[in-house]
């Protein structure tokens, strides 16, 4: 087949050209002003003279690019202080700015954005920000790409034709004038929830002038249910903050608190820290992790297999509606009064869970907490509050704060009211600011049609011309600015405010809401900076009072957080459970038997707002590994019952392409004709999960579903009566086949144990359990000798060196009957025919003389969220290749997160499903036991082998070893024989089979990191440990030689020392769970050495004797011995 999606974007887009093409007045004005002499000619009909000047015109157009305000540097005014102050601004030296990115609920995570030559190119978490602590989520990282999205709207339009901002403002002001008499009764603002104090201030100002105008908020994936529960329990709106750092036992009820929701990054960091098991005294002292006994425990009860469920110690798959029953039963078991009885009986396993679970929760009073997912009805949230209260979680693990949102809203009610008002003709002027209600409103509201038929003046303010922006629906379209283009402010999950500062002037003149409001209100300025600054000046005058405002303001900008703005903790009364019996509070009952459908936000595209972002589309979704599509996700058992297959069967799988059956889904009379079905082990039986956010019809080339990619419109099934969970789902017979781009179809480890894991008990019994290679060989356990570090190092780290002198008491025990051997056989260490490294520096092995970069991934801490993938894409200019190319097994990611399923049995280290003996029909039966499925994640990047097999086979020496142990790739040298890739046991090398890097789209050139080559066709590429960051740090260190020497920062050879933590790889920086350590093995104080010296550190495929520099800490789980088998 000809390579369809291998082709590049259709047309190059030039942001200059749109005006010209649209022939707007602005453009002709520009041309007239620029070339006044030719102005007359310009307007003439075709004349000889004009014809002759056509040649000149092309030159003129080229010249006009220089006049484009969008290409002027962002710092036309002094707008931003530096996070890291350089001596002077140097070309090529990047600058870093703190800002914040608002996501679900308008809640922000703090970012530090790297800017080179005026272009923001990379976002990372802001360590100062409480919602981030340095980590980030994929959407925040990928927001950089959205800035340069060539599909962004570039033009203000009226009824589909180009217009101007001034015209727009005049027209709207006229409308507002008409509203003055009605006190703004006909004015509606529909926004996404906002936490911006400045925006709230402006809306408040507006409300003063138009008291009857309404501000409505709608977000399809909202937290209405928990808000309702809070209201019912305490009688006032509050936000809950869970301090996972303190939680010892957590029960997640259909909650993916580790990877979704506004505080997921923070939750993952806090929670996973207590799952990083460390043995060494030095590691514990440095806070790398916790001792074995201090590990926390997670129970997960859920329908879809989520990341939180995947890392849980016990997981119980239940149908979505049964979670409520489970919560009721648990509450009853814990002795909470006023809980309605569970009418249908719970499944056996769930019944068996209750007692040991209740015991465990009771045993950890004050450090146990129940968290509930947004998709669960308010009753579950309310019950959880009661349980938490009972468990003494209030004020310890769980605290309540004043709502962070400027105006807490009931989203669906707001939208419903608006729809009714529109229908009733009560609306004269409607602003749809952000959001995309025509696409994502509950289907029964028929919002698109209502909007279309409304006679009101409708204004659409958005970054893309999306479903809501269709001409006729909204007369006015205003292109909105990206958050990196304008000033703003936003609050984090705990209320901490941040200033959003622009890093670049609006690329196509986008406007911000703040600018719109301040213009409409005639505040005297329409500059968002002034407005934001005024808001915070007020705050300064009221709260801070001391010192100089400018200094305070600049410090706030530099830090990325405004001190003292965290929301106050609020005291709550006892939980009132009365509402449980209140029909208006209850969610309409869902038919218990039969198939149920659950809607969840997409792990990458969220509610669909990121659908036009290629990075997010192509980052494999953490559990399913799907890219470019969503699918109806079912369990193997349900699939077998429905007669649905994924082409390779669920007993095997392939890299890139899964052939899935397509079915129709019918819910309450609404049918989605064709949905691909994806079979996922571990999913609850008789339930379907459908992710929202795919199936867009407008909004950019990347977003729009074309029939072979970017998915199925789940919103078409989502009605007010079944917003999250719908019962009585009918599934049609499979009709057609559909290719899903699933980057990892093969899910069993095949007994090769790439991911090594143990329970706390197993680990206690055998500290070196992870050393046993999957393949038997003479080097059984001796591979441990490849662990870096001298015996002295080990002693200092508080660990026993496995090969210390005097081998009589070497580090491991012998199984009964195994012969005791006197010390390890030196001949097989380090498993080489060659003698020891003969080159010496100062009498020591030369390999210990230079820096030795290494990386450790703690599998116990990895949540599989795949943020590292997006971070790597952003840092290393990794091209987006499109669905078709992914289905050809040609995804380009340098780091991938492998996901395996296993089925542990009674024997330690063994796995029923992975065994070669369990194949075919037997395996397909086994995989249906959803409650026994265990999920494992393993990020795989280049292992930087010391004896790299790729290097020896390259015929041109394009991949070579650096002195500090990096396996370097010289792109210019590569001729593309791909031998290195074949010989790589980890398959981490990626080949540019055709020209993937986009050299054609102008705006997309701007997103590239200038420190990393953009690879051409025919070249192999792979992870470099972010070598550009290493080299930068080296240069900086050399430059600071004297300073460092004075500070005693000198290594053993008298060179300036790169301090541990000064170099952070992109994946490491992004990792919300802090699962990645990187550093110099020859630095005795490095975190990476401490991690490598741990007993459960192992090298992936180390038995091949490639001596990987990257290694893994085996995952330790903490199951409750009292729990029934199955969920264990």
């Amino acid at each position: 087949m000809p390579p369809k999606a291998d082709q590049q974007h259709d047309d190059p887009e030039y942001f200059q050209s749109v005006d010209a093409w649209m022939n707007t007045t602005e453009f002709s004005d520009l041309m007239k002003n620029e070339f006044p002499d030719d102005a007359a000619e310009w307007l003439d009909p075709v004349s000889r003279r004009q014809f002759l000047t056509v040649m000149g015109a092309s030159v003129a157009l080229a010249g006009a690019i220089g006049c484009n305000p969008s290409l002027k540097p962002a710092s036309a005014k002094k707008v931003v202080p530096y996070v890291r102050q350089p001596d002077q601004m140097l070309p090529g030296v990047p600058l870093f700015f703190a800002t914040a990115f608002a996501q679900q609920g308008g809640i922000a995570s703090g970012l530090i954005v790297k800017q080179t030559e005026g272009r923001p190119i990379k976002a990372e978490g802001n360590p100062n920000h409480p919602s981030s602590l340095g980590g980030a989520d994929a959407a925040a990282l990928a927001s950089i790409l959205s800035l340069y999205d060539p599909d962004r709207a570039k033009q203000i339009k009226f009824n589909g034709t180009a217009s101007g901002y001034d015209k727009f403002i005049t027209s709207i002001k006229d409308e507002l004038e008409k509203q003055k008499g009605k006190e703004g009764e006909g004015v509606r603002f529909l926004t996404e929830p906002s936490t911006s104090p400045t925006f709230a201030g402006l809306v408040g100002e507006f409300a003063k002038r138009f008291p009857k105008a309404k501000w409505l908020q709608y977000e399809p994936v909202n937290r209405d249910n928990s808000a309702k529960a809070h209201q019912a329990a305490f009688g006032k709106p509050v936000n809950a903050i869970v301090n996972f750092a303190k939680a010892k036992v957590v029960l997640a009820l259909d909650s993916d608190f580790l990877t979704s929701g506004p505080s997921a990054v923070r939750s993952a960091r806090d929670f996973m820290h207590n799952r990083k098991v460390r043995d060494g005294k030095a590691a514990l002292k440095a806070g790398d992790g916790v001792a074995l006994d201090a590990m926390n425990r997670l129970y997960s009860v859920e329908s879809m297999l989520t990341n939180s469920g995947a890392v849980a110690d016990h997981r119980l798959p239940l149908k979505p509606s049964q979670v409520l029953d489970f919560a009721k039963a648990l509450a009853a078991k814990l002795g909470i009064v006023g809980v309605p009885a569970v009418t249908p009986k719970l499944p056996d396993l769930a019944e068996k869970w209750l007692v040991p679970l209740a015991d465990d929760l009771n045993a950890h009073k004050g450090s146990a907490v129940v968290v509930v997912g947004d998709a669960q009805p308010a009753e579950v949230h309310l019950l959880a509050l009661a349980i938490n209260e009972k468990l003494g979680a209030f004020k310890s693990v769980l605290t309540f704060i004043e709502p962070v949102e400027s105006k807490p809203a009931d989203h669906f009610a707001d939208l419903k009211n608006l729809t009714e008002d529109l229908k009733a003709g009560k609306v004269d002027l409607l602003f749809v600011l952000g959001g995309n209600p025509v696409y994502d409103a509950p289907v029964d509201l028929d919002f698109g049609k209502v909007l279309m038929s409304s006679k009101a003046v409708k204004v659409r303010f958005a970054t893309h011309e999306d479903e809501t922006a269709i001409d006729g629906q909204c007369q006015w379209f205003v292109n909105a600015a990206h958050y990196l283009e304008t000033w703003g402010d936003v609050r984090g999950h705990d209320g901490t405010a941040s200033i959003q500062q622009p890093l670049i002037a609006p690329l196509s003149g986008g406007r911000s809401f703040l600018e719109l409001f301040s213009t409409l209100l005639d505040l005297g300025t329409s500059d968002p900076l002034d407005v934001v600054q005024a808001q915070w000046h007020k705050h300064f005058d009221e709260k801070v009072k001391t010192g100089d405002f400018t200094a305070w303001w600049e410090k706030c900008l530099r830090d990325g957080v405004i001190p003292g703005t965290a929301a106050a903790e609020t005291t709550v009364a006892t939980v009132k459970l009365d509402a449980l019996n209140d029909a208006s509070f209850q969610t309409p009952a869902i038919q218990a038997d039969g198939l149920q459908l659950q809607f969840l936000p997409d792990p990458m595209l969220f509610d669909g707002r990121y659908a036009n972002n290629g990075w997010l589309q192509e980052t494999p979704k953490p559990i399913t590994k799907l890219t470019w599509d969503n699918a109806a996700i079912v369990s193997p058992g349900t699939a077998a019952r429905l007669g649905i297959v994924n082409a390779f069967g669920f007993t095997g799988g392939e890299n890139g392409r899964t052939v899935a059956d397509m079915v129709s889904l019918t819910v309450n009379g609404r049918t989605l004709d064709k949905v691909a079905v994806f079979i996922l082990p571990g999913h609850a039986d008789d339930a379907i999960t459908l992710h929202l956010g795919h199936g867009r019809t407008r909004g950019g080339k990347v977003a729009v579903a074309q029939g072979y990619g970017t998915g199925f419109a789940a919103y078409k099934l989502r009605a007010t009566m079944g917003l999250w969970i719908a019962g009585n789902v009918e599934v049609g017979k499979p009709t057609e086949k559909y290719f899903l781009a699933c980057t990892q179809g093969q899910y069993a480890m095949e007994s090769r144990r790439p991911v090594r894991h143990a329970t706390v008990e197993e680990f206690r019994k055998d500290k070196e359990f992870a050393q046993v290679p999957a393949q038997s060989a003479a080097e059984y356990k001796e591979l441990r000798a490849l662990t870096p570090g001298t015996p002295e190092d080990f002693e200092r780290l508080g660990l026993k060196h496995p090969h210390a002198k005097g081998h009589d008491s070497h580090g491991h025990d012998h199984a009964a009957g195994e012969e005791h051997h006197a010390g390890h056989d030196k001949r097989i260490i380090p498993l080489s025919l060659y003698p020891e490294n003969p080159s010496k520096v100062n009498g020591k092995d030369a390999s210990t003389a230079y820096r030795r970069w290494a990386l450790v991934v703690d599998l116990g801490a990895c949540t599989g969220c795949s943020v590292c993938v997006t971070a790597c894409v952003s840092e290393n200019n990794i091209p987006v290749v499109g669905k078709d190319t992914v289905t050809r097994g040609r995804a380009m990611h340098w780091i991938r997160v492998d996901r395996y399923f296993s089925m542990p049995n009674d024997e330690p280290m063994s796995d029923d499903m992975g065994s070669a003996k369990v194949q075919g029909a037997k395996r397909s039966e086994m995989v249906k036991k959803s409650d026994r499925i265990r999920t494992h994640f393993q990020p795989v990047l280049c292992q930087q082998c010391e004896k790299a097999p790729c290097e020896v086979v390259c015929p041109v020496g394009a991949t070579v070893h650096s002195a500090d142990g990096l396996n370097d790739m010289a792109y210019n040298r590569c001729v593309g024989t791909r031998y290195c890739s074949n010989n790589c046991p980890y398959k981490v090398r990626r080949f540019n089979f055709i020209q993937y890097a986009d050299y054609a789209t102008d705006s997309l050139k701007l997103v590239n990191n200038p420190e990393v080559s953009v690879r051409t066709r025919g070249v192999m590429e792979k992870c470099t440990y972010c070598v550009q960051r290493i080299r930068n740090a080296e240069m900086e260190t050399e430059r600071e030689f004297d300073k460092r020497k004075a500070a005693g920062k000198i290594d053993q050879f008298g060179r300036p020392k790169i301090m541990d933590g000064e170099i952070v790889t992109a994946c490491q920086a992004a990792c919300p769970a802090n699962a990645i350590s990187f550093g110099d093995l020859n630095d005795h104080d490095s975190a990476v050495l401490r991690a490598k010296a741990e007993d459960h550190n192992y090298g992936l495929l180390a038995e091949l004797n490639v001596m990987p520099r990257t290694s893994y800490l085996a995952a330790i789980r903490n199951p409750n011995p009292a729990m029934p088998k199955g969920g264990a």
Binding site: R657, V975, Q995
Partner: protein, 480 residues
């Protein structure tokens, strides 16, 4: 040396057996030829006296058509990149390398027949060596295309040679691909020189009997002033012997080194010491299958069965049988070693290869065509039946292609299950393969038409003394 006056009237009579001569004692020449009839029968094809059989046109045009496919395939490949093929991660090598190894294997028999059999005094080689060498050269040409085409940036192919350039691109000599370049280049060069040196006296014959100026001019130039003087013969025979000696190790080296592409890697089932002998045996196997394939039409359409006798075919079949058994032993060894190693991944991959994996059928096609079907060659009657022999050789062609396919496809099941993936060639993969087949057919058709397809000189020496020959004492006997 007397030649008969060429007759414009196609004298089938001319070549008829002269019954006054006794037949060849070993049955290696049939039809009681004498020096003159033998020379004319071969040379008349080249100087266009023998009418071109219709089948020649069929072969030539089919070949030429397919060769156009090669042009199109290469054009599109160069335009878009190797992405037009089905290669991916983890199967980064696909049909290009399969075809490369397949062609190199075919290119094996020629030099084996010319050089090794010469050194080993196997008289029967004499009827086969010329066209077998041509086959070698054309097959290596086809093979040589693929390593260049399969490169991501083929315009940099010269970087694999140690060319002293000021940007200091220099090969990395530890890489088997680098050895490949030297092995194949050397093999091709020596084979071509060997072939050409053998052709010089024959070109002189053609020059002498040429029917027009053009022929005389071209063959004259190619004959390089050969006059047949004693000193010419002496030098010629020395050189021929030296080249045979040079060619002999190359027969072994080239496929050994090609096998290193696999054996030196650490891919499960590639990393095996059995590969070099296994590959050499496989190459001879494949090469003889191709010799049979070429000999059958030559006998059929050019009536060369006088020289390529049933006896020859029988010998070829026996070599095929023998090497086929060696190859089968290799298959056994691969499985045995995987089991015996106790290496889990080796054994799993073996099981995937032969039974549980998606390409199990390819393995059994290979076993059927390479191991089972050639066993029919034990039967005398089948070895003498040209149609049967032709079909068995066809089976070997398929089998040897699948052998390389199975090896390449092993990449789909390597160490980490997460990166397992399948591979399917695209139409562009197949087009290139068919294109090289076309190129081979085209070149071979032209060779048959314009160059003596059998060695006139050696065939004459081969005749019994009574018929003016030297009783099969080949050139080397005199190279003192």
């Amino acid at each position: 040396m007397a030649t008969m006056t060429p007759s414009t009237n196609l004298g089938t009579k001319l070549y008829e057996a002269d019954t006054k001569f006794p037949p060849h004692p070993e049955g290696l020449v049939e039809g009681n030829h004498n020096l003159a009839t033998l020379g004319d029968k071969i040379a008349d094809v080249s100087i266009q006296i023998t009418p071109t059989p219709k089948a020649w046109w069929l072969f030539f045009l089919v070949g030429l058509t397919l060769a156009q496919g090669l042009v199109a395939g290469v054009g599109y490949l160069f335009y878009l990149g190797t992405g037009v093929w089905g290669i991916n991660q983890p199967v980064a090598w696909g049909l290009a390398i399969v075809n490369f190894v397949w062609w190199i294997g075919i290119g094996h028999a020629g030099t084996l027949i010319s050089a090794i059999l010469l050194l080993m005094h196997q008289k029967w080689r004499t009827s086969l060596n010329r066209f077998a060498e041509a086959m070698t050269i054309f097959a290596v040409m086809c093979a040589g295309l693929f390593p260049i085409l399969h490169m991501g940036r083929p315009w940099l192919a010269y970087w694999l040679y140690p060319v002293p350039v000021n940007f200091a691109a220099w090969p990395q000599f530890r890489s088997p691909l680098c050895w490949d370049v030297f092995a194949v280049t050397t093999y091709f060069t020596v084979s071509a020189v060997f072939w050409y040196v053998g052709l010089i006296p024959d070109f002189a014959v053609l020059r002498d009997i040429a029917r027009n100026k053009l022929q005389r001019g071209i063959y004259g130039m190619l004959a390089m002033g050969w006059r047949g003087s004693a000193i010419h013969w002496r030098r010629y025979e020395k050189l021929y012997l030296l080249l045979a000696g040079l060619g002999t190790p190359l027969v072994f080296s080239v496929h050994t080194i090609v096998s290193f592409d696999f054996a030196v890697s650490i891919v499960p089932l590639w990393h095996a010491t059995i590969f070099p002998p296994f590959f050499v045996a496989g190459a001879i196997f494949a090469g003889f299958a191709m010799v049979i394939w070429l000999a059958v039409p030559l006998r059929q359409f050019y009536g060369m069965s006088d020289f390529i006798t049933n006896k020859h075919m029988d010998f070829c079949a026996k070599v095929m049988l023998g090497t086929g058994l060696l190859v089968s032993y290799g298959y056994f060894c691969e499985v045995w070693m995987a089991w015996y190693s106790h290496s889990q991944i080796e054994w799993d991959t073996t099981m995937q290869r032969i039974w549980t994996g998606p390409y199990w059928w390819a393995y059994w096609v290979l076993i059927l065509t390479n191991t089972i079907i050639p066993q029919f060659l034990w039967i005398d009657r089948i070895r003498k039946n040209m149609m049967a022999l032709f079909l068995i050789a066809f089976s070997v062609h398929i089998g040897m292609w699948f052998e390389r396919y199975v090896i390449i496809i092993t990449l789909s099941r390597d160490n980490l299950p997460s990166s397992w993936g399948r591979y399917a060639p695209t139409e562009w993969d197949y087009l290139l393969f068919l294109g090289t087949i076309g190129m081979f057919i085209t070149l071979f058709s032209l060779f048959v038409r314009f160059v003596p397809m059998l060695s006139i000189t050696e065939m004459r020496e081969f005749l019994p003394k009574a018929q003016g020959g030297r009783d099969g004492h080949a050139v080397m006997e005199n190279a003192k």
